[in-house]
């Protein structure tokens, strides 16, 4: 073994000193020869005879030198190195060809590597938690009737959590599905993102602090000393890695809390970029114990206990479901709670979209391959003479193929290297995008697996498109080629009827694939256009929003909160340039509050009926531009202490409970909303529907109440201003501080940005598909142009004859364009069939557009034809300009 390694090392070393070794061998042989001659002369030969005899005894010096080289070096490897050098020289000789080929491949490979890193990082890689297969998400099954708003359908109540805590087959932890705002006290208070989790969540996920301790069960107990864990990111950003931080106290939402530990920077739970974690999920939401069964603020995460199977856990869950909801006693969070693999729950929503992108990017790579194969075939054909010569000189066929494949591999290596740069940029762009919350985006990186994948596709790509021209080239005997090489191959590359040359077949494939991409992009583009034109029920344009969180500790009563918001709205309205300002508990698409509902006059049969409720400061409808349909809007007097309780409903609510609305009006009816008001509320108005669950869903029934009745702990300030509304932000912040120096605002955004992220998947799919389709069409055009230009060059003589026989410019022009059109049309037919079959992948992403949308299926191919004509015009014009005399003289 050792000897073999030593020898191999020696052989590789010898490669670099062939010249020196050769001359040493020559010297040795000289010495040997002279010794032989001496010997023979001693035996009585003449010097000449002795010299000849010595030659015979020693053997053929050239052969010996070759054999010696082969034994001491690594011949196959050296051959490959030689081929590579030759290929590199070829690249340098044709910089334009090389650039086009390398860039084409880089786009194909880079896009592929980028999407693969996303698919791998999001869908394929196991979650970063310990033993991730035993982790499950605990939610209500989505078949449960949505209680007012879609997002509420999955969450569970505190009471349900209490019941599941004693499960034997799994350990459940709960958390608030999003984040809370927590104001970090200091000279300049800043708003942090706080995750609210039960103490055992970290243990269930298997996450350990990098410093300090984790939460303990008693941290969840009511009245236990307030503690917090902070993220490594915050520790670095805000505390400059202060090693003494653990054990000290920081003020979060006016509550002094002891920092007990620091969690690693790559821990993002329940959402990304959480700064601090707080225990006591029951303390959140300011929910008194008597309401534990009435609202559903929680999501659950559980670990199947060792020794139990998933089936056992499911079975126990069924038992618990029946215990929680005995027949005839539906609860507010009715419906079965089910366990789903945590990873599926996390990435399930983007599964289809990502695989769709993977398919699309596969098409891009195929197009790139076909394109380079076309270019290489054209080049190889022009090298027929070179290969014929080499073959005549004794090069084996396999040797020539190997060289061609080496050349294409060299190209694909360059393409792959450049592609990695593209992939890196692409992955960074996706990981840091703000308009779509891609699950696990923070985990994305160009890692080892991605590198391996890139290398693999680079290699396969190189071999595939390198073999293609060699097959083409080696079909007829090379000797025949040599004989023909003096002549141009007229007509061999053109199509006659349906018979298509191999080069044209490649172009057909490119046209077909890019048409599929383009149709996909077209459908997504239409979806985006429809989405942006959806009537949301209010005027989102120009509306600036920000979040105003009030700490529970200092704003513990409804009066304090109501007073703060009243004062805030009054002060903001005085800011120069502000035309209107209002405060609301939840902006459209950002969630909201839900409570039980009863209508005094008709008694809804279902006692578990829930209703979404929005608390607004009077003037809200006017500021956001939501029209009042019947009755009146809220007035300032509705928000004063002691005023009669009033409410406003939307039309969906009216239609649901008074089916003959608008003939029958809900105005004058009374609603019972037990969480927000002890007394029934009078309906005084009906407003237009707002699509609270995003533009792709129908508007749900909504109830609005003046904020005095149930002022939110966290509210949104929305304002309109003359000119750039962002200019008002500093003044707003100053006004907030003027009311309370410990307060701040966060998340300043235009309403349109919030709406865009509600349909982030569609936007991502549209942008990426658009990019891919653009690249695909461009590549297909380059391929078509290449084939046309090549064909014109090959047919120079034929065209010359035609011209000499009287064909006009126009006829020649049309002949060439027609040839391009024919190839394109075949490609289009194939592409349309392919698109018809594959656009259903987009089904779940499309909005108000059918997967076989007629307009798209007509307009896109027509556009394609136009572009094709453009791509074949340059070669056609060149053909028309051929001078018959000059062409025939060649």
């Amino acid at each position: 073994m050792w000897t073999a390694i030593t020898r191999l090392a020696a052989r590789f070393a010898a490669m670099f000193r062939h010249r020196a070794e050769d001359s040493e061998l020559d010297q040795e042989m000289d010495a040997h020869r002279s010794l032989l001659i001496d010997e023979y002369m001693r035996r009585g030969m003449s010097e000449d005879e002795a010299r000849r005899a010595a030659h015979l005894t020693l053997g053929n010096a050239t052969q010996l030198r070759e054999a010696h080289r082969e034994i001491r070096g690594v011949p196959l490897f050296e051959e490959v190195v030689r081929d590579c050098r030759y290929a590199l020289r070829g690249c340098r000789r044709q910089p334009l060809f090389t650039t086009v080929a390398v860039v084409t491949l880089a786009v194909g490979i880079g896009a592929n590597a980028a999407v693969f890193s996303i698919v791998h990082g999001v869908l394929m890689r196991p979650l970063m938690y310990a033993d991730p297969d035993a982790l499950v998400s605990v939610t209500r099954s989505s078949t449960a009737a949505p209680g007012g708003q879609a997002f509420l359908a999955q969450w569970i109540s505190l009471r349900r959590w209490e019941l599941m805590r004693d499960a034997r087959a799994f350990e459940i932890g709960v958390y608030r599905p999003s984040f809370e705002d927590a104001i970090l006290g200091g000279r300049e208070p800043i708003v942090l993102k706080a995750g609210r989790i039960s103490a055992n969540v970290l243990g269930i996920l298997g996450v350990r602090p990098i410093s300090g301790r984790s939460f303990r069960p008693d941290d969840d107990a009511e009245g236990s000393p307030p503690v917090t864990m902070i993220s490594e990111r915050l520790w670095i950003r805000q505390f400059r890695r202060d090693p003494t931080l653990v054990g000290t106290t920081i003020t979060l939402g006016s509550v002094p809390r002891t920092v007990i530990g620091i969690l690693p920077a790559d821990f993002h739970f329940p959402v990304r970029d959480i700064d601090v974690w707080l225990p006591q999920p029951a303390a959140v939401g300011f929910i008194a114990r008597q309401y534990w069964g009435c609202c559903t603020p929680l999501m659950g995460v559980a670990r199947i206990r060792p020794g139990f199977t998933r089936q056992q856990a499911d079975a126990e869950m069924t038992v618990l479901n029946n215990q929680y909801e005995p027949p005839g006693q539906p609860r507010v969070d009715k419906g079965a709670v089910v366990l789903t693999s945590l990873k599926d729950a996390l990435v399930g929503p983007v599964n289809t979209m990502l695989w769709m992108l993977m398919a699309a990017v596969g098409f891009v790579l195929l197009i790139a391959c076909a394109n380079v194969a076309t270019l290489l075939t054209a080049r190889a054909t022009s090298r027929v003479r070179e290969f014929a010569m080499r073959s005549a000189l004794g090069a084996k066929r396999s040797r020539i193929v190997r060289q061609l494949v080496t050349e294409s591999l060299v190209l694909s290596m360059f393409g792959g290297a450049l592609g990695l740069v593209i992939a890196y940029a692409g992955v960074r762009a996706v990981a840091t995008m703000t308009w779509f919350d891609l699950p696990r985006a923070y985990e994305l990186s160009v890692n080892g697996t991605v590198l391996l994948w890139t290398m693999a596709i680079t290699f396969v790509t190189g071999v595939v498109f390198g073999t293609f021209p060699s097959l083409q080239l080696l079909k007829p005997a090379l000797i025949d080629r040599l004989r023909q090489a003096g002549q141009t191959e007229s007509g061999s590359g053109r199509t006659r009827g349906l018979r298509i040359g191999a080069r044209s077949a490649l172009v057909v494939a490119q046209v077909a694939l890019s048409l599929i991409l383009l149709i996909g992009a077209g459908l997504m583009g239409q979806t985006i256009a429809r989405l942006t034109h959806v009537d949301m029920g209010f005027l989102s344009a120009g509306l600036l929003t920000m979040r105003v969180p009030l700490p529970v500790a200092t704003y513990d009563t409804a009066e304090k909160r109501a007073r703060f918001f009243d004062e805030l709205v009054t002060r903001v309205r005085t800011i120069h340039g502000v035309r209107g300002a209002t405060v609301v508990g939840a902006l459209p698409t950002t969630g909201g509050l839900a409570t039980n509902l009863q209508i005094v006059s008709q008694r809804i049969a279902d006692p578990g009926h829930t209703q979404a409720v929005h608390t607004v400061v009077p003037g809200y409808f006017e500021v956001v531009g939501q029209r009042v349909k019947q009755g009146r809007s809220f007035e300032p007097r509705d928000n004063t202490a002691g005023a009669p309780g009033v409410t406003i409903v939307n039309e969906a609510f009216a239609r649901k409970h008074w089916p003959s609305y608008p003939k029958l009006t809900p105005i004058g009816e009374r609603l019972e909303l037990p969480v927000v008001s002890l007394k029934p509320l009078d309906v005084v108005g009906v407003v237009a529907d707002v699509k609270h669950s995003g533009p792709t869903r129908e508007a749900e029934p909504q109830v609005y109440i003046p904020d005095r009745l149930y002022p939110p702990q966290i509210a949104f300030l929305a304002l309109r201003a003359d000119g750039d509304p962002f200019r008002a932000v500093d003044a707003v912040r100053a006004q907030v501080r003027a009311i309370d120096p410990n307060q701040s605002i966060t998340d300043v955004k235009m309403m349109d940005q919030i709406l865009e992220s509600a349909t982030g998947q569609q936007h991502l799919a549209a942008r990426v598909l658009g990019l891919f389709a653009g690249a695909g069409v461009l590549l297909a055009m380059i391929g078509l142009y290449g084939v046309m230009a090549y064909s014109v060059a090959q047919r120079t003589q034929e065209i010359g004859i035609r011209r000499a026989l009287g064909a006009g410019h126009g006829e020649v022009l049309w002949m060439i364009v027609r040839q391009g059109l024919r190839v394109t049309l075949i490609g289009l037919v194939c592409g349309l069939a392919g698109a018809y079959a594959s656009t259903r992948l987009l089904q779940s992403l499309l909005f108000e557009v059918s997967t076989t949308d007629t307009t798209t299926f007509i307009v896109v191919p027509v556009l394609f034809v136009v572009v094709t004509v453009l791509a074949s015009v340059i070669p056609a014009v060149r053909a028309a300009r051929i001078d018959p005399v000059g062409a025939l003289r060649v």
């Binding site: 042989m29 010495a31 001496d38 054999a67």
Partner: protein, 113 residues
């Protein structure tokens, strides 16, 4: 390489090692002459072939090469067996003895027995 030449190659290696072990450092010419005498021309197609064997043994570090001056005052490479080479020689030699013993006994068997 076919089987016959593989066997011959092994034999040639063994002979070179043995010769160098027995006679001390030698140059290629001397080794070729010596092997021709012993093997009666069965192993070397021509004398040049010895250098293919020598470079292989040098790369395996079983022998070492050093420039020196030949009897007729020419610069020549002198080969000497190394420690590793001696170890290899011992192993190969006992192998050969065992093998030739077996083959010898086999050939001595009379058809009737």
């Amino acid at each position: 390489m076919d089987n016959r030449s593989t066997i011959l190659q092994g034999t040639l290696d063994l002979m070179v090692l043995k010769t160098l072990d027995a006679m001390g450092p030698m140059h290629g010419y001397g080794l070729a002459r010596r092997i021709e005498q012993i093997s009666e021309d069965a192993l070397l197609v021509n004398q040049g072939t010895i250098y293919l064997c020598l470079i292989r043994l040098v790369q395996k570090r079983w022998i070492s090469a050093k420039w020196g001056i030949s009897e007729n005052n020419r610069k020549a490479k002198f080969y000497a067996i190394t420690k590793a080479g001696r170890k290899q020689l011992q192993a190969e030699a006992s192998n050969w003895e065992r093998l030739s013993g077996v083959i010898g006994r086999l050939l001595r068997l009379s058809p009737s027995a």
